[in-house]
Symmetry: C2
Subunit: 118 residues, 2 copies
C-alpha cells in the first residue's frame, strides 16, 4: 500500500487522498492572498488598530497614544493595512483620518471572537 515514486521523496500511504487534495486545492495566488489577509490580523497591534477603527475614525497620533507605540510604528502598520485595502484615510488639513474600508475584517474578528469565547 506504500508508494515512493513521487516527485518528493515522501512516503504516501493514501495516494487517492493526496490526489484529491491536489485537485481541490486553491490556486497558489489565492492561498497567498488568503494568508496575507490573515497575516494582517495576526499581529496584536494591527488587531487593536482594526478594532479601534470599528468605533470611529482616528488619526495616526491618536492611535499611537492608544497603542503606546511611536507614530512611526503606527504609520508602518497602517501602510500595510492600506496596501491590503483594509483601511482607507481621508485628509482634513494636515491630519489623516483612518477608517475601515469595509466590514470584512470586523466580521472575521467577530466570528473568531465568538469562537474564542466559546
Amino acid at each position: 500500500m506504500k508508494k515512493s515514486e513521487d516527485l518528493c521523496q515522501c512516503r504516501i500511504i493514501h495516494e487517492e487522498r493526496v490526489a484529491g487534495a491536489r485537485q481541490k486545492a486553491l490556486e497558489v495566488h489565492e492561498i497567498e492572498e488568503l494568508s496575507q489577509l490573515f497575516k494582517a490580523l495576526a499581529d496584536p497591534t494591527r488587531l487593536k488598530i482594526i478594532l479601534a477603527l470599528e468605533q470611529e475614525e482616528m488619526c495616526v497620533c491618536d492611535l499611537a497614544a492608544f497603542l503606546a507605540v511611536t507614530e512611526s510604528a503606527v504609520s508602518h502598520q497602517l501602510r500595510l493595512l492600506r496596501q491590503l485595502h483594509l483601511v482607507t484615510n481621508r485628509r482634513q488639513g494636515p491630519i489623516l483620518y483612518y477608517r475601515l474600508t469595509d466590514c470584512l475584517v470586523s466580521r472575521l474578528a467577530q466570528l473568531a471572537l465568538e469562537h474564542i469565547r466559546e
Copy 2:
C-alpha cells in the same frame, strides 16, 4: 487642542477618541488569543493543511506529499494547530489521521475567500 501630558510621549489630538478606544478595547488576553488564531491561518502551509482537511482526514505523510515538505515540517505545523484545538487526530495502528476539530477555520477561510474573489 493638543495635549502632551500622557503616559507615553505621544501627541494626542482627540483625547476623547483615545479614551473611547481604551474603554471599548478587548482584554489583552483576548487580543492575544485572537491574534494567535489568525496567525495559525496566516501561513500558506498551515492554510493548505486546513483546506485539505476540509475534504477528508489525512495522515502526516500524505500531507507531506501533498505539500511537498518534509514530514517533520508537517508534524511541527500540526502540533501548533493541535495546541490551538484547530485539528484533532485519531490513531489507527501506527497512523495518525488528522481532521479539523470544528468548522470554525473553514468558516473563516470561506468568509475571507469570498472577499478576495470580490
